[in-house]
């Protein structure tokens, strides 16, 4: 399986019968560091992935047809998962994309609030 990032969709009305009413996602392939490696694939969605998400792509026909329960379909590439996190060597960990609507963990700890200055006592006006 491959790691990829959804970057768009492909709209098609004239297609093979097995591709009717299937969502086609345009996915940039990622290298182990999480940056686009230059290649891309058009994959059939099976999990409801959206644009900007890091996904898991299956690029093998027999498994793809099994996942989609479509025995004879001319489909080889399927999005089979949405990646939450990848652990391992931080140097080779894919960068978490800024997915809209989901709260992303801050990469740096929140800056502590600056200590409040002690209130200066008001100068009392003395009436002569």
């Amino acid at each position: 399986m491959k790691l990829a990032r959804v970057v768009g969709t492909v709209v098609s009305t004239i297609n093979a019968p097995d591709l009717e009413e299937r969502t086609l996602l345009l996915c940039d392939l990622l290298d182990p560091a999480g940056t686009p490696s230059g290649g891309y694939l058009i994959a059939v969605d099976s999990v409801g992935a959206g644009a900007g998400e890091t996904v898991l792509i299956l690029d093998e026909g027999n498994s793809a047809r099994q996942v989609l329960t479509a025995p004879g379909a001319p489909i080889r590439t399927v999005v089979v998962g949405i990646v939450d996190a990848v652990s391992g060597d931080p140097a080779t960990r894919p960068a978490t994309p800024p997915s809209p609507g989901s709260a992303t963990a801050p990469t740096t700890p929140a800056r502590p609030r600056a200590a409040r200055q002690p209130r200066r006592p008001k100068a009392r006006r003395r009436s002569a």
Partner: protein, 107 residues
Amino acid sequence: MQLARVVGTVVATVKAPGLEGVKLLVIQPLDRRGEPVGSQLVAADAVHMAGPGELVYFVAAREAAQAMPDPFVPVDHAIVGIVDAVSLLAGDESGGSSRDTRPGRRR
């Protein structure tokens, strides 16, 4: 599956059994921005409606033959759809928004 542009047709009278009536088109694979990438290849037209100049997507390997009426044909690239539109996520190279969302900014 990948995007491609149909750039020509192939006519062959002597073909392997099973390829009779199969339309063969020359396609140029494209990257996702529509620029040609790699060398041209011959693909079977599984939608029967693709023609020169059209933007299509094709499937490679064994699954190409699955797109044909008889799935046991010697076909390794098949056009399985004609592209109406490719919509790319706007600014997919950029990071998050640069809008300042800090609440209650003090003057």
